[in-house]
């Protein structure tokens, strides 16, 4: 658990369980981020990191089954995403969604409209956006082009960072999971993060499985996520360790933990669910030995299932 | 106000139609009278409601104008209708009356002599009787009713179902030939699949139709109850030869909740045929209709199977191919009504024009205000095999719901010279290369057909392609 006191907590996620299409992706996740802190969420592919970002932002694709999200002292668990944005949350996308028919500048202006401290008059707005574009080394001609349509990878990243700087959120979640992380994109994101930290005292949550993006960044906490659970939290020293050792240890521990949970569980069904999760993790690229032990887990739960059936038949 | 030139041309044409048409109508009036329709009904020993429906349809038929947007039907010999529907007239059913091109096709398809006359509908029917009865027995063991619609009308249990559904999907007011069908329909199939019953082999109407000698105005009524599953194959890929030159059948399909119906047809009529066939399906919640439709043959074709997606999450898919060769004007396509939440429809069609033939793809996608959350995608491709043929694409969309996504794509063009060159550089003759490419073009349809039908469709394309080169 985080060491910060609740009073400082800007974002507080408690026991968050979320699913999509009746498939549970997050299992009781906790996360606390204090104002001004930089957190990193790491973990193997398919661990649920991106889902975490989207659920905190309120993506209607996911259903929250359990738990709560508090932001800036307010329960935002049931707020729509635009209200969360206006409360000061920000989620960067891998790339902006393409919106034909809407020029970038019109879109930006609309995102500012009605935000007390940020709303700008025409000229002021143009000046500010041009300034930020220059800071991000972005061609201002893009401002008149339709949002996301025909943008290069680097330009798309710049559009996201531009919005980060323009909206000055209290907390920004940067989802860089699938980032191609070519030098160009990496540079854009780093520049964006630096400028954000410099211009505001905002918090950062960086979602990644690649540590390169974290160079030159002061990280306060690292959270490791496996199979939809936070399995480890530590300070920045964890980053070089992960760099050297990868996530295998965490995955093994998680599988062992699941197995242990299964043994203590009275009901066979949840254990089988957990085992199925473990198999999914295996499919995501574990060693052969690992898969074997998972098979064993599955077989055992199958046996438990069978015995449950037998007793049901006996009744 | 000056008269639009187009309008003037129209008036000229209608005057011209009138002098021809009037004569036709008179003869028709003399031929197709309430008395004759009543006689048809009495001979079939039909219930009163059916006779009433026939008489009402006849009245509508006489009142309704011919369609003005489609291929010309001035050349349609209305005499044949009377000849066919008059209960007293004997059909000429002998091999000599089969046109030469049909006989030739049989020859070239490699169909044994003994089967040719049977496929042409003029031979002895023992084989098909047998196949039909075997099919019927197996289906019956599963509780499925598969019989002639006239026979079913004589059973009180089925008569009630038929009365409830008959010509409700295709009302006689729909168009002139639906009205004609309502007045003189004869023969056809009745299929009833009870709740939850899933038949794992296709029912094939070809055998039934031939066994009972029905043809021009057959009515097919299929009810697939909730959670049931059926594949029905209409016709056969060999040419159907019939004496009359008008075919105005009707197919009404009722797909229950979570039920699934696949309806496959290869319509390959002799080239003197005016094929004005009407097909329609209605799907309840989560029900699914799949149309597989091939149109070959006919002088004139009007064929647009329609799906009415009335229940939430119901689905329709349409896969069709049309091949218009010399002297043919085939106007085909489909209609879809997205009429409930979260429905979805896909349409994929291919059309091929060759030797001066005309192929028109015509469609309509209508999304009612109730269709929120629905999707439809239409894709049609047309292939021009020479520069004397015609191919038109006329897709209409009327969208009145908000949360919908409708996509439409169409392309038209010819076989790329580069493709021909590539194949020829590998030692394939030009004719073979073209046939190969056209078969590939038709593949999305043929892959949906049972193997023997797919093979015959490919053979048909091969036949059509012969002599395509200079």
């Amino acid at each position: 658990m985080s060491t910060i006191s609740p009073a400082d907590t800007l974002l507080s996620v408690r026991g968050l369980t979320a699913s999509v299409d009746e498939k549970t992706i997050l299992h009781g996740v906790d996360l606390d981020v204090a104002a001004g802190e930089t957190h990193v969420i790491m973990g193997p592919n398919g661990a649920g990191k991106s889902t975490m970002g989207h659920v905190i932002m309120g993506d209607p694709v996911y259903s929250v089954n359990k738990g709560s999200i508090f932001f800036d002292g307010q329960d935002i668990t049931n707020l729509s995403c635009d209200k969360r944005s206006r409360a000061g949350l920000f989620l960067s996308f891998q790339a902006p969604v393409e919106i034909p028919g809407v020029p970038l500048s019109s879109f930006l202006r609309a995102t500012l409209a009605g935000r007390e401290s940020l709303e700008m008059k025409g000229k002021q707005f143009r000046r500010r956006v041009t300034e930020l574009a220059r800071e991000l080394n972005m061609d201002t001609a893009y401002l008149n082009r339709e949002l996301g349509v025909g943008f290069s990878g680097g330009e798309k990243k710049k559009v996201e960072m531009l919005q980060l700087l323009l909206l000055q959120p209290k907390l920004a979640i940067l989802d860089e999971t699938d980032s191609g992380l070519d030098v160009d994109a990496l540079g854009v994101v780093s520049r964006g993060m630096d400028a954000y930290r410099k211009s505001t005292d905002g918090s950062l949550v960086i979602i990644t499985h690649n540590t390169r993006i974290l160079e030159h960044l002061e990280v306060d906490r690292v959270h490791v996520m496996v199979n939809g659970r936070i399995v480890r939290e530590d300070d920045a020293s964890l980053i070089p360790w992960i760099d050297a050792n990868g996530f295998d240890t965490f995955e093994r521990e998680a599988a062992a933990q699941l197995a242990a949970e299964r043994e203590t569980a009275n009901d066979a069904a949840p254990a089988r669910d957990a085992a199925a999760d473990a198999v999914r993790a295996a499919a995501a690229g574990l060693g052969a030995g690992m898969v074997q032990s998972l098979r064993a887990t599955l077989d055992a739960s199958g046996a438990a299932d069978a015995s449950a059936n037998a007793s049901a038949d006996a009744r | 106000m000056t008269k639009n030139r187009t309008e003037v041309a129209d008036i000229d044409r209608s005057l011209y139609d009138f002098s021809y048409g009037e004569e036709g109508f008179e003869r028709l009036d003399a031929g197709l009278t309430p008395d004759i329709v009543t006689e048809i009904s009495q001979r079939k020993n039909e219930p009163q409601w059916m006779l009433d429906m026939r008489l009402k349809s006849l009245e509508i038929y006489h009142r309704m104008p011919n369609p003005t947007w489609g291929p010309g039907i001035d050349g349609l010999d209305m005499d044949n209708i009377v000849t066919y529907v008059k209960p007293n007239t004997e059909q000429k059913n002998d091999w000599d009356s089969v046109p030469d091109d049909i006989k030739d096709t049989f020859e070239r398809l490699g169909i044994p002599e003994a089967e040719r006359s049977y496929l042409a509908g003029v031979g002895a029917q023992y084989d098909s009787e047998l196949v039909y009865h075997n099919m019927q027995d197996t289906a019956a063991k599963m509780g499925i009713v598969y019989s002639g619609i006239e026979e079913a009308l004589q059973e009180p249990e089925w008569e009630a179902i038929i009365r409830e559904k008959f010509m409700t999907l295709i009302p006689p007011t729909d168009h002139k030939f639906a009205a004609l069908h309502g007045a003189v329909w004869s023969g056809g199939s009745f299929v009833y699949v009870p709740k939850g019953v899933k038949l794992d082999f296709p029912l094939q109407s070809y055998f039934r139709l031939n066994a009972k000698g029905a043809g021009q105005f057959e009515h097919t009524l299929i009810v697939v109850e909730d959670d049931a599953d059926l594949h029905f194959i209409e016709g056969c890929s060999a040419p159907k030869y019939n004496v009359a030159n008008l075919h105005a059948g009707a197919v009404e399909l009722f797909v229950g909740k979570r039920a699934h119906l696949r309806y496959s047809t290869i319509e390959n009529w002799s080239k003197n045929m005016y094929n004005l066939n009407t097909k329609r399906a209605r799907c309840e919640e989560e029900g699914e209709i799949e149309w597989i439709s091939g149109s070959f043959g006919s002088h004139v074709g009007y064929l647009y199977p329609m799906s009415v997606l009335a229940g939430r999450k119901s689905r329709s898919s349409f896969t069709g191919i049309t091949f218009a060769g010399t002297g043919q004007n085939l106007d085909t396509g489909c209609k879809v009504v997205l009429g409930a939440r979260d429905t979805s429809a896909t349409v994929e069609t291919k059309s091929i024009s060759k030797g001066g033939g005309i192929s028109t793809f015509r469609s309509s996608i209508v999304a009612t205000p109730a269709a929120e959350g629905s999707t439809a995608s239409v894709s049609c491709q047309s292939l021009m095999l020479d520069d004397i043929s015609r191919s038109d694409t006329i897709p209409a969309m009327d969208i009145r719901a908000k949360d919908v996504n409708i996509g439409h794509e169409a392309t038209i063009g010819r076989i790329g010279d580069d493709k021909i060159f590539y194949l020829m550089s590998r030692g394939i003759s030009e004719e073979e290369a073209r046939t190969m490419i056209v078969n590939g073009f038709a593949n999305p349809v043929s892959k949906e057909l049972p193997l023997e039908y797919a093979v015959e469709m490919n053979n048909l394309i091969k036949l059509e392609m012969e002599g395509a080169i200079g």
Binding site: R86, F107, A110 | T68, T326, R390, T393, I394, P395, N405
Partner: protein
């Protein structure tokens, strides 16, 4: 004047099922309007003084087309069928033609440019607009000229006005024309504003036409045009349809000259109970001709829209290409959007493509915009204001820009501020 209904307007050449009610439209000219002539045409004086005429240019082109035509009779089955009576099944080698196929085959056989000439809204509408205009302004260029002209049609409440203009662009000349139908007539009152245009685009000429329809709520608008393109002519058309209770926009183009090309981009907005009715007909007759039809619209309120687009790849148009694309955003439940993108094809060495995308703002777009603080309603408004902003920023004249801003103010709160 009595109420007048112009029938068969914006008719598509190849009709489909009449129950769809898409084949054509009726234009109801409000009753009791006073015929007025609030039309201004700004053009250099010498454009009026050329002794060229649209008919003359067509006749000259006809001469060249006839000379280039071979003597060989067209004996295709379709032509045979169109010229004779329908023999029905007695002649199995001759197809039975639809009324449209017969008309088009006869037109091909005759090859008469003048007889083939058409405008998009149609002959009756053109006759009425000519009557309102009282006379036609003929603007012609000399070879190599680069000129521009502006047409403005205003109509005060209770009146009707129309412009009638012929453009004859000499070879190698460039003509920029802007037309503004702008009548600030509030709801509850009625007015009629129209324009009918004929363009002869000479060999290698460039003709650019921009039409803005920015009328108020009580106005019926008709924008009618017909183009004939000579060899290598390039025509660019921009139709921006933002205002007017009922608008009919019709364009027909005859790509007669080889390698001629027309690009049409349409941007429309339907709000309130607006009706937007479009008809585009492009006839490819010359070799290697090209057309691109691109329409982009937003519908909100309970507005209705129909867009008919016909690309006709006619016999002889070897190497022709026609593309058609439409994107429609439905921003409200009550809208009615009809689209019918047609490709007619009577030639094999051609390429025709069309596509349409109709839909609501997609869930992932809504989520993205939500993440940046836009509610669903704000997102919808954004599409509308973006369209208006784009129209304002790209308006050819200050007056047209002002007209867009005026409309924008009525539709989007703080609109003027936004484009400052």
């Amino acid at each position: 004047m009595d109420a007048l209904v112009i029938k068969n307007a914006n008719a598509m050449p190849a009709p489909t099922w009449s129950w769809l009610k898409m084949n054509d439209t009726k234009i109801a000219v409000p009753a009791g309007l006073e015929r007025d002539c609030q039309v201004t045409i700004e053009a250099a004086k010498d454009l009026y003084e050329q002794h060229a005429s649209f008919e003359g240019a067509v006749e000259e082109l006809q001469g060249r087309v006839d000379a280039a035509r071979g003597d060989a009779a067209d004996d295709r089955a379709i032509i045979r069928a169109a010229q004779g009576a329908d023999a029905g099944a007695a002649d199995l080698d001759t197809p039975a033609l639809s009324a449209y196929e017969r008309r088009t085959a006869l037109s091909q056989a005759a090859g008469d440019i003048s007889a083939d000439f058409e405008t998009g809204v149609g002959r009756d509408a053109r006759a009425y607009l000519n009557f309102l205009a009282g006379g036609t302004a003929v603007l012609a260029t000399q070879p190599g000229d680069e000129v521009e002209a502006r047409v403005n049609v205003a109509a005060a409440p209770g009146t009707s006005s129309s412009a009638s203009v012929d453009i004859v662009a000499a070879p190698d000349s460039t003509f920029d024309l802007s037309i503004s139908l702008d009548a600030a007539c509030p709801a509850g009152q009625q007015a009629f504003a129209g324009s009918t245009l004929r363009v002869f685009a000479g060999a290698r000429s460039h003709v650019n036409v921009t039409v803005y329809l920015t009328c108020g709520e009580g106005v019926t608008c008709v924008d009618d045009s017909g183009f004939v393109l000579d060899e290598d002519a390039r025509v660019n058309v921009r139709h921006v349809v933002l205002g007017g209770a009922f608008t009919a926009t019709g364009l027909a183009a005859d790509l007669r000259g080889d390698r001629s090309r027309i690009d049409i981009s349409t941007s429309y907005l339907g709000a309130g109970e607006d009706v937007r009715d479009f008809n585009y007909i492009v006839r490819h007759r010359g070799k290697k001709t090209e057309c691109n039809l691109d329409a982009n619209g937003v519908l909100t309120g309970t507005s209705k829209k129909i867009l008919r687009g016909t690309i006709d790849l006619m016999h002889g148009a070897k190497g022709a290409q026609g593309n058609e694309r439409e994107t429609v955003l439905l921003a409200n439940k009550g809208v009615d959007n009809k689209t019918i993108p047609m490709i007619l094809c009577d030639e094999d060495d051609v390429a025709g493509n069309h596509g349409a995308t109709i839909g609501h703002v997609r869930p992932e777009q809504l989520f993205y915009m939500g993440c940046r603080g836009l509610s669903e309603q704000q997102a919808e408004t954004l599409f509308i204001s973006a369209k208006l902003e784009d129209a304002a920023l790209t308006a050819p004249t200050d007056e047209m820009r002002d007209a867009v801003v005026r409309l924008g103010r009525a539709l989007v709160p703080d609109f003027e501020e936004e484009i400052a």
